[in-house]
Every structure is written in structure tokens, then in C-alpha cells.
């Protein structure tokens, strides 16, 4: 075995940025022994009595110090857990260091490890190693990644459903339809001189269309699945000083944005991740939308318009002081970028008073196709829960699905299923246009192959690498 492959590797497993603690993982034989020279055990449960990390039994943790082996200077006091092969995530010997979350601490510990026997993990290498050691199969590996990525309840539920095989069961049903259709074709192709086996083209078409319907349903669930895996983007926009940042603060529960009374303070977009009614949401606080002479502010306004295009839902904030003309002008502008069903009008600051043109504005907005309106007060917390419901209703309407059906979470799955569906359509058309059942069967086989790339029945050269490459380092 080469040095490269056998050299233990390490990486920080917790997300970048400052957290309370961070976890650094190492995997490979003699990982613990390598670390003996720069760790010192301070305390363990009495009956373990390990003096060195390498003496620590599997599944045991120790309170320890990590120090620089050259200067002897202590870096951090940490908790170290030891896993003995094959009883670890990767199946090889592993060490997990829970250290304090500061960037400097993490970097320093990693530097010492990299200088002393470890190499940096490649993307997805922990899972790749687990897979290589027979700890995971490919679909499990993918589901693990989705679970890791899914940080809200609903996403977790959908990911669990895939882990439990619901997705592959649905796909197997579809495959069976296609196999059935193919067998009808093959029978008449292989034994053409026999008169007693006419092609039932109608049946072939029916089966292919059934399969296509199933695939289309799955594909359409990705509207929700995308949100579960990539979060729902909710933009808060409106004229300066319409209460955008205040709403953001109320929804996030702490002062994330600088809220001032000066118009145009929020020059850049600001994003906050949070869960609203179980849905992973990224709230985007935009610069106030208005024509401006200030160049820096103008960039912010430009960004705000661009942002709208990629958002799922746009909350248009309207303050009591907003004039009718301005409201109409900017609404028109925004609707150039956003379809009306993705927009909700939020009359803000109801504690200060009602906008005197509210009824006219509502009527105007309705005439443009907007259907969602609400009046709130962020400072008095009036109708904030209702606003949250507007956000989760938007999500619920996307799928029209009950919580029992499978939701596609993974873009790769979505693309493969959409492609498989379009191939079935091609096959059906080939039969209907009289082009030939041979062509239809060839295209149907392609669609089976595409489905097989999800269920693991087809193997493709780049598959394994792609999947592991998409894992964050250290997962």
C-alpha cells in the first residue's frame, strides 16, 4: 500500500465559522499513537487509567491537553475520544478531538497534526473510507449526506424516508412497469415469425405512461425537496424604512441587522438561516428599493432586484407612510422580476397606524395577481405567527403532498428522474409516430439505466467519485 493511501488523515468536521466547540477528526491506523507526542491526558474515568492517548480503549473519552511539540506550549484543553478499528465510522482507527470553537484554536491543532504524521483529508474521504471498508453502501452514503445537510425536522423526515428505502421502493415499481413494457416488445421482436404473439402496442404505451406519471410525481416533489435541502429563500423588501430589518430581527429573535431610523442603512443584502414552522428558511434582508443617486446604495438596490429573481418568496413591506404612487411604481418594478404568486404584501408598523391607501393598494395588487396580504406589527408582535404561516403555506402548496409521500431531496436524483421521464416520453412518441418499437425499447432501456443510477443497479464510472466529492470535508 502506498504512503499516500495508508497515511492517516484529519479534518475539522464542524462547519466553518465560530461555534461553541469544534470537532477535529482523524482516521487511519496508529492515529492515536501519532498524537501521543503532542497530547497529554489530564483525566479519565479512574478504572481506565490510560496514561497516553494510544492506551485509551475504544469508545472512551479523556480530558486532555493539546500542546505544540516544539515549543511545549499548550494550545487548548480538549475532550479526546478514541475509536479502535473496526468499530468506528470509517472502520479504521479514529480519534475525535472536541476543542474550543475559535478559528485560531482549530487551525493550530490542525497545523500540529499536519506537521506530525497526518495529511489533510480529501473531500468526502471519511465517508469514502467508510464505504471502502464496507461500512456503507452507496445509497446509504448519499442518504447520510442528505441527513447531514438536512437541518430541519421536515428535511430530516424526508431524508429518513429515503434511508428507509421508500424512494427505492417507488422507483422499483416504476422499473417494473418499464420492464413489463420492454418484455412485451422483446417477445415480438425475438420471435417475429410466430403469429400468436402480436404486439400489444397500446399496453406498451399504457405501461410507459404509467411509469412516466410516477416519475413526474417524484420529480415535482423536488420543488419542496430543493427547499428542504437548499433552504427556502424569503426576501424582505420594500422602500427604505419600511420595517424590513425590524421584521428580520423579530423573526430571528435577536438583533442580527443594525436597525436604525436612517433610510438606506442596509446597503448590502443580509442573510439569516432559521427554521420557520419546521422549514429551513434563509431570510434575505435587502437594501431599500428606491432610485438613488448614492453609488454605493445604488449597488445595493441593484442587488436587491437581482436577488428577487432567485428567491422563493418575496415579502413586500409597506409602511403606513408609503404613498400610493411609490407603492404602485415599485410593485410594477418588482413584478418584472418576480411572478405574483411568489409575492406577499406585508403592511408593516400597524402599531403606528394603518396606511390610508391600504384598500386601494390591495385592490391594485390583486389586479396584478397577488393574493397574499397581511398587516403586522413587529414591535408589538402582532400577526407574526400568521406571517410565519404564510411562509410555511407557500412551502406546503408547492408539493400538495401528504407527509407520507416521498420527497426528492437530492438534485442529482431530481435530474436523473426528470431525464428518465423525458426518455419515456420519447419512447411513447416513437411508438405513436410509427417510428418503431425497437427505437422505443432502446430509449426505454436508457430510462431504466438512469433510474438504476439512483437505485444502485447501474454502475457508472464517475458515480462513486462524484458522490464522495460532494461531501463536505471531514463529514
Amino acid at each position: 500500500m502506498s504512503n499516500f493511501a495508508s497515511k492517516p488523515f484529519c479534518a475539522c468536521s464542524t462547519p466553518q465559522g465560530v461555534g461553541g466547540i469544534a470537532i477535529i477528526r482523524a482516521s487511519g491506523s496508529a492515529s492515536a499513537e501519532l498524537m501521543d507526542s503532542y497530547t497529554k491526558i489530564l483525566r479519565t474515568i479512574a478504572d481506565i487509567g490510560a496514561k497516553k492517548l494510544s492506551e485509551l480503549p475504544g469508545y472512551c473519552a479523556a480530558y486532555a491537553t493539546v500542546f505544540d511539540p516544539i515549543t511545549g506550549k499548550s494550545i487548548d484543553n480538549v475532550i479526546i475520544t478514541h475509536f479502535v478499528a473496526p468499530h468506528s465510522y470509517t472502520g479504521d482507527e479514529m480519534v475525535e478531538i472536541s476543542c474550543h470553537g475559535g478559528e485560531a484554536v482549530k487551525q493550530e491543532i490542525l497545523r500540529i497534526m499536519l506537521d506530525n504524521g497526518f495529511r489533510a483529508a480529501e473531500p468526502g474521504e471519511f465517508t469514502k473510507t467508510a464505504f471502502l471498508n464496507g461500512k456503507l453502501d452507496l445509497s446509504e452514503a448519499e442518504a447520510v449526506m442528505d441527513v447531514i445537510a438536512a437541518d430541519s425536522e421536515r428535511a430530516l423526515r424526508a431524508a429518513n424516508m429515503q434511508l428507509n428505502g421508500k424512494l427505492s421502493r417507488e422507483l422499483t415499481d416504476t422499473e417494473n412497469d418499464i420492464y413489463h413494457a420492454l418484455s412485451l416488445i422483446e417477445m415480438i421482436v425475438e420471435f417475429p415469425e410466430h403469429d400468436d404473439t402480436p404486439v400489444n402496442e397500446d399496453k406498451v404505451i399504457e405501461l410507459a405512461e404509467d411509469a412516466k406519471t410516477k416519475l413526474d410525481q417524484l420529480a415535482s416533489s423536488y420543488a419542496q425537496g430543493r427547499i428542504l435541502s437548499e433552504r427556502m429563500r424569503v426576501a424582505i423588501c420594500g422602500a427604505p424604512n419600511s420595517g424590513k430589518s425590524t421584521l428580520l430581527n423579530v423573526l430571528t429573535g435577536y438583533e442580527r441587522a443594525i436597525v436604525t431610523e436612517v433610510a438606506g442603512t442596509t446597503r448590502d443584502t443580509l442573510e439569516v438561516n432559521l427554521n420557520i414552522n419546521g422549514i429551513p428558511v434563509t431570510l434575505v434582508d435587502t437594501a431599500g428599493i428606491r432610485d438613488t443617486e448614492d453609488r454605493i446604495e445604488a449597488i445595493g438596490v441593484e442587488r436587491a432586484y437581482q436577488e428577487l429573481m432567485s428567491d422563493d418568496l418575496v415579502l413586500y413591506m409597506v409602511a403606513p407612510s408609503e404613498t400610493n404612487d411609490n407603492f404602485r411604481y415599485y410593485l410594477d418594478e418588482m413584478l418584472k422580476n418576480v411572478p405574483p404568486h411568489r409575492m406577499a404584501i406585508v403592511f408593516s408598523k400597524s402599531d403606528i397606524g394603518e396606511n390610508e391607501n391600504a384598500d386601494g393598494m390591495t385592490e391594485f395588487a390583486r389586479s396584478l395577481g397577488i393574493e397574499t396580504f397581511i398587516s403586522i406589527s413587529s414591535s408589538d408582535s402582532v400577526n407574526i405567527d400568521e406571517l410565519k404561516d404564510i411562509i410555511s403555506d407557500y412551502y406546503d402548496k408547492l408539493g400538495g403532498s401528504s407527509s407520507e409521500s416521498v420527497i426528492l431531496l437530492n438534485r442529482r436524483h431530481y435530474e436523473l428522474i426528470s431525464e428518465a421521464s423525458s426518455k419515456l416520453e420519447m419512447a411513447v412518441n416513437a411508438i405513436k409516430d410509427g417510428i418503431g418499437v425497437d427505437v422505443a425499447s432502446s430509449v426505454m432501456r436508457t430510462s431504466l439505466e438512469l433510474i438504476g443510477r439512483i437505485t444502485g443497479k447501474s454502475v457508472s464510472a464517475e458515480l462513486a467519485d462524484n458522490i464522495f466529492g460532494r461531501f463536505c470535508i471531514g463529514k
Partner: protein, 650 residues
């Protein structure tokens, strides 16, 4: 292991009868192709047959081609083989099957004049340079151990003690090795058609450690045409203008026999009475009484097997086919049986139009020894004995065309072996022959393997019409296709390409004339007109149809026109197929180093380790096709190879 020295020492009749580059044992369809290819590649070759009058015998159905098999014949011809040429000369009826089902499954099939086929092939081979044909019974393979300790071939020994020295042997023993025919309770130690069987050769292979299997197949009765009442049968005539099997003939603009000279086939059904006779005599069938222990073909079952397995089906279709122009014998396709002679007579008389039928030959089952094809390399060389190649039914296949397809490859690779050149391996995206060999060698088979179009993943590309495009360059490179033929081939496709270009760039205005033309096939004229190619893309619109509006068209042969039409009409689908082939090649190009130790790969299931260690696939694609190796195993293998790239590079 039997060496030449040992034979000379122990066998008082032994003598050195000759020295050759290669010996081919068995002159059926595989052996003829192998010997022809070897000789054409300028190897001094000897071809052995048990009986010179039965060379290239058609002991079962008197036809060549059919679904997937027709494609095989075209491929053999495209490589420079002989089956297609001889079949064209001996055809007495020709049809294109699956005409309505699309070009990928168009399959030419021809009824053969059986005796003519045999002597035409014999004469062709007799006139082939570098080739000697000899009637002899080969009983032993002679071998020695080379410096590396590997078993390698040194010659063959005949029953008369003649030793033929050679460095490569191709065995094409068909159904003859230790064969016995079975007719009810009557068992005869014999080859097919009452010919002598091969004794001893099988044991000599087994002694070398080659794993052997035993299969069974069968053939139906032959009746005298005079005794048949055709008024009760449905007539099936041949078709006109069917392209010949041979591309050379096709390029000369020739078709096979004109319709008026073709002989009809007939189709009938079994009756209630037939079913009754069979079911009430099942206890006398050697299949069910345990006399036959070889495994029979699922795709070519005996009639009693059909009634047992499809008991809900009241009747089965039977085809009555002529055996040649100089005989009255008619073959009952679909009616093979091993029931006793008296039951056969009753069964035949129960069929429509055969009430008074005179049976000239009985139906019988035949059991024979074969080599487990899992012990072969993709080149058809044995993994156990260097220089030993096998082809045809000895490798577990069924059918003349399957045999010939392997024969030409075994011949080619025996020739390459003699020249110390790498073998020619056609992959699954290149030819049906490639699919056939890969299936046998990688998956093995537990019944006589029949080629079917559905076994080919890329059949939209593996068409009978483009076999030359796929394989003639290979044949030329090997030396089986001469320069003249190759130049004609290149010219054909140059015309195809330039005519396609012309069709794409020639615009036709929406005239009254065009409107009428298109209306005749229920099509309409696009408002702003269209290019000729766009028009041909439409359903039912053909190149021929557009002749009146395409006045400047050059004179093109039928073959060129068919190639152009297929390319244009199926362009999108063929493109998709080519993309699939690209994907397929990704796995095929991941070579597995010979030194790999599967025991050391964590995560491979035990079964996969065993299978991979035994079969030693050459690439990941082949590994993926081994039964017992799951996609998950293959993924493990891919990752392992990726992770250890550097180790293997060193």
C-alpha cells in the same frame, strides 16, 4: 498432460504426420470460419473433420439468419468470413424479419439447400490457400509445459496414431464430444445425423484441468413433401429484393435468388389431439424420466417441454420448411422431441396437413460434452492451456451463426497468438459477436446460449445494415479483407456522407407536386418548404418517394439509400445510443491490473471476492457483468482502484 514424446514412446502406431502453424478440430460452422481465417492470415492450417461429407452440416433447421442471427452473419461477412457468401449461394428462400419493427431489429433469414451448403463450403475451403482439409478422428490434445510452467499446446493426435504438430489448436467439436442421441428409451452412442462421435478428446481436455459441462439439444422429424397436404397449411413466400448476407455481393448490386425461384415455407398449428398424445406419453419422455441429464435450451424447447411449461396454451405454431431443391425432405420447425419413435409418428399425424406424413428421419435429443466458457479469455483462448482456443457449441452456445461468429474470432486470435500479437476483442458496443463472447466468457451459461437482439444493449447501433461500417476496418487491418474490397467499402460510405450533406442542404419549395407526393403517405407540406433531409425525417416519407422533386440526385445503390435513410430518420435515437456507448466505455476503460488481490479489498462481499478471483475480469465493465458481483461491489472496486492507482502504477 500428454506430450509428443510420451505418445511416440507409448503408442506403437504413433508417427509425426505433419507440422502446421495451427490445427482446427471440427469442420462445422465454427471450424470452417476458424480455419478460413487462419489460412487467410497466412498460417499453415489443417482442418479436421470426422466426415468430409458432413462438413458445414446443417443438422437441425435448414435456415441461416433470423433475429440476432442474421446480424451475426452480416458481422461475420463484414470481418471477412465465409458463412454469408455460402449462404447467399445456397439460399432457396429469403425474408427480412421484423420489417415493421424498426431497423435495429431488421433480421435477414434464408432457407438453405442443406446439401448444397455443405459441398459449397467444402469446395470453397478446398480452394483456400494455406489450408489442408483432412478426415480424421482427433482423440488427444498434445501439450507440454513451457519455461514459465504454463501448459501450452504442441499438437493433436488422431485415432490412427498420426501426430500433427502445431502451436495453436482451435477445437470446434459442436455436439460430437462423447455424444449420445436419445429417442425415447433408445440411446445411441452417436453424433448428430448418425455421424460418428468424438471419443477421448473431452477426457484429454478434462485431464488438463479444464472444467467440463454437459448439455442437451434436439431436432425435430423430417417428412417427405409428397406425403404432405399443403392445402391445410398457410403459405409463406420469400420476399423480393432482400439484400444478400454478403456485403461484397451487396456492393455488386446483387440480391439473393429472385422470388419466382424461391421455395415457400408453410405454417400450421398443433391440434388438441397433439396435446393429448404428448401429455399422455410424458412418462415415456426421457426428459422427465431422468434419462437425459444434460441441460436443454430454454429458447428452443422440445414440443413436450412447451406443452408442460405453457400448459395454458392450447396450441403451438409449427413451420414446415424445405430442406433443399434436390430433396423432398421437409423440416418441422418447433416440433423437436425426444419421445419414442411410435409416439413421434402419432404426434406428426395429428398435425394439420400431415395426416399421411411419411417420416424420413426421426426426431431425437442429443447430449454432448463442452467446456465451461468461464474458463476462457475474451479472446476465446483457454485460461488453462496456452494456444488452445475453442469456438461454437463446445463453448455453450447454440446455433450455426453463434458458432461461426466465435469461429472467426477464435481463428483470428489463434493467428494473432502465433504472431505474438494482442488478440482482437470486439466489445459489446461493437458487435453482436462481442456480446455473444462476453456473455459466455463473463457470465457463463447453464443452457445452450442463443443469441437474441435483446441481449445487445446497443442494438440501435448494432444493425445488420451497418455491420460493414463497424467491422470491415477491423477485418482489413487483420488481413481478412483485401484492399479492393476495402476501397469499395470506403467509397460506399463516402457516397453516403456526401449524399447526406446534399440532402441536408437541398431546399424543396412547397409546391403542388410536393404536396401531392406527401399526401400519398398521409403527410403534409411544411409552409415554408423544407430540406430533403427534413422531409425524410417524417414518418413514412422515403428517399424513393421524393425522387420526382429531387431531380439532381445522383445514382445510388440500394445499400447506400438504406444507410442514408436510417441515418436521417433515426438520427436523434442513434445519437442517444452513441452517448450510452460512451458511458459504457468509461467502465470498459478502467483496466484492472493483473496483480490485483481481491482478498485485500475491504468491503467486497465474500461471493464477489470468490467470483472476481476466479474469473479475473480485465476491466471494471466486465467485472460489473459477472453474476454474483453486485453494483455495490463494483463501486467498491472502482474506489479501490482509484485509491490505489499510484501503487499499481509502480
Amino acid at each position: 498432460m500428454l506430450t509428443i514424446e510420451k505418445v511416440l514412446e507409448e503408442n506403437k502406431n504413433a508417427y509425426i504426420a505433419g507440422e502446421y502453424d495451427a490445427a482446427v478440430v471440427g469442420a462445422g460452422h465454427a471450424g470452417c470460419e476458424a480455419a478460413h481465417a487462419l489460412a487467410k492470415m497466412k498460417n499453415k492450417t489443417i482442418l479436421f473433420t470426422l466426415h468430409l461429407d458432413a462438413l458445414a452440416n446443417l443438422p437441425c433447421n435448414p435456415s441461416i439468419g433470423g433475429t440476432a442471427k442474421g446480424q451475426l452473419v452480416r458481422e461475420i461477412d463484414a470481418l471477412g468470413g465465409v458463412m454469408g457468401k455460402v449462404a447467399d449461394e445456397c439460399a432457396i428462400q429469403m425474408r427480412m424479419l421484423n420489417r415493421s419493427k424498426g431497423p435495429a431489429v431488421f433480421s435477414p433469414r434464408a432457407q438453405m439447400d442443406r446439401t448444397k451448403y455443405s459441398y459449397t463450403m467444402k469446395h470453397l475451403l478446398e480452394n483456400t490457400d494455406n489450408l489442408v482439409i483432412k478426415q480424421a478422428h482427433i482423440v488427444k490434445l498434445l501439450t507440454t509445459k513451457n519455461e514459465e510452467g504454463k501448459i501450452c499446446v504442441t499438437g493433436v493426435l488422431s485415432s490412427t496414431g498420426a501426430i500433427y504438430k502445431c502451436n495453436a489448436v482451435v477445437i470446434c467439436s459442436g455436439t460430437y464430444m462423447e455424444s449420445r442421441t436419445i429417442l425415447g428409451e433408445v440411446i445411441t452412442e452417436s453424433g448428430p445425423d448418425g455421424l460418428p462421435r468424438s471419443v477421448g478428446l473431452s477426457a484429454s481436455l478434462s485431464e488438463l484441468g479444464i472444467p467440463m459441462l454437459r448439455f442437451k439439444t434436439g431436432t425435430p422429424v423430417r417428412v417427405n413433401k409428397k406425403s404432405v397436404d399443403f392445402t391445410e397449411m398457410t403459405r409463406q413466400d420469400g420476399e423480393d429484393d432482400i439484400p444478400p448476407f454478403s456485403f461484397e455481393r451487396e456492393m455488386d448490386g446483387k440480391t439473393v435468388a429472385p422470388t419466382e425461384e424461391q421455395v415457400p415455407c408453410w405454417s400450421i398449428w398443433t391440434t388438441e389431439q397433439t396435446k393429448e398424445i404428448i401429455t399422455s406419453n410424458l412418462d415415456r419422455s426421457p426428459l422427465y424420466s431422468g434419462i437425459i441429464d444434460g441441460i436443454g435450451p430454454r429458447y428452443c424447447p422440445s414440443i413436450e417441454d412447451k406443452f408442460v411449461r405453457f400448459s395454458d396454451k392450447p396450441r403451438h405454431q409449427i413451420f414446415v420448411e424445405p430442406m433443399g431443391n434436390s430433396t423432398n425432405e421437409m423440416y418441422l420447425q418447433g416440433f423437436s422431441t425426444s419421445l419414442p419413435e411410435d409416439v413421434q409418428a402419432q404426434m406428426v399425424k395429428s398435425l394439420l396437413g400431415l395426416k399421411d406424413a411419411v417420416i424420413q428421419r426421426n426426431a431425437y435429443a442429443i447430449e454432448y460434452d463442452l467446456v465451461d466458457p468461464l474458463s476462457l479469455k475474451l479472446s476465446l483462448e483457454s485460461k488453462i492451456a496456452e494456444g488452445l482456443f475453442t469456438a461454437g457449441q463446445i463453448n455453450g452456445s447454440s446455433g450455426y451463426e453463434e458458432a461461426a461468429g466465435q469461429g472467426i474470432i477464435a481463428g483470428i486470435n489463434a493467428g494473432r497468438f502465433l504472431r505474438k500479437e494482442p488478440p482482437v476483442i470486439l466489445d459489446r458496443s461493437k458487435a453482436y459477436i462481442g456480446v455473444l463472447i462476453d456473455d459466455l466468457v463473463t457470465k457463463g451459461t447453464n443452457e445452450p446460449y442463443r443469441m437474441m437482439t435483446s441481449r445487445a444493449e446497443y442494438r440501435l447501433f448494432l444493425r445488420q445494415d451497418n455491420a460493414d461500417l463497424r467491422l470491415t476496418p477491423v477485418g482489413h487491418e487483420i488481413g481478412l479483407i483485401d484492399d479492393d474490397r476495402y476501397a469499395a467499402f470506403e467509397e460506399k460510405y463516402r457516397i453516403v456522407e456526401s449524399e447526406k450533406e446534399r440532402l441536408a442542404s437541398t431546399y424543396i419549395a412547397p409546391t403542388r407536386e410536393l404536396e401531392e407526393l406527401l399526401a400519398s403517405v398521409d403527410s403534409t407540406v411544411p409552409k415554408s418548404g423544407a430540406s430533403l433531409a427534413e422531409l425524410i425525417k417524417r414518418p413514412r416519407v422515403t428517399y424513393e418517394l421524393l425522387a420526382p422533386v429531387d431531380r439532381k440526385r445522383p445514382q445510388c445503390s440500394q445499400a447506400v439509400i438504406r444507410a442514408i435513410e436510417t441515418d436521417i430518420k433515426y438520427e436523434g435515437y442513434i445519437k442517444l445510443e452513441l452517448e450510452n456507448i460512451e458511458r459504457f466505455k468509461e467502465l470498459e476503460s478502467k483496466i484492472i491490473p493483473e496483480a490485483i488481490d481481491y482478498e485485500n479489498i475491504h468491503g467486497l462481499r465474500k461471493e464477489a471476492v470468490q467470483k472476481l478471483s476466479k474469473l479475473r475480469p480485465v476491466n471494471v465493465g466486465q467485472a460489473n457483468r459477472i453474476s454474483g458481483v453486485s453494483p455495490a461491489d463494483v463501486n467498491v472496486l472502482i474506489v479501490y482502484l482509484e485509491a490505489h492507482k499510484r501503487d499499481f502504477a509502480n
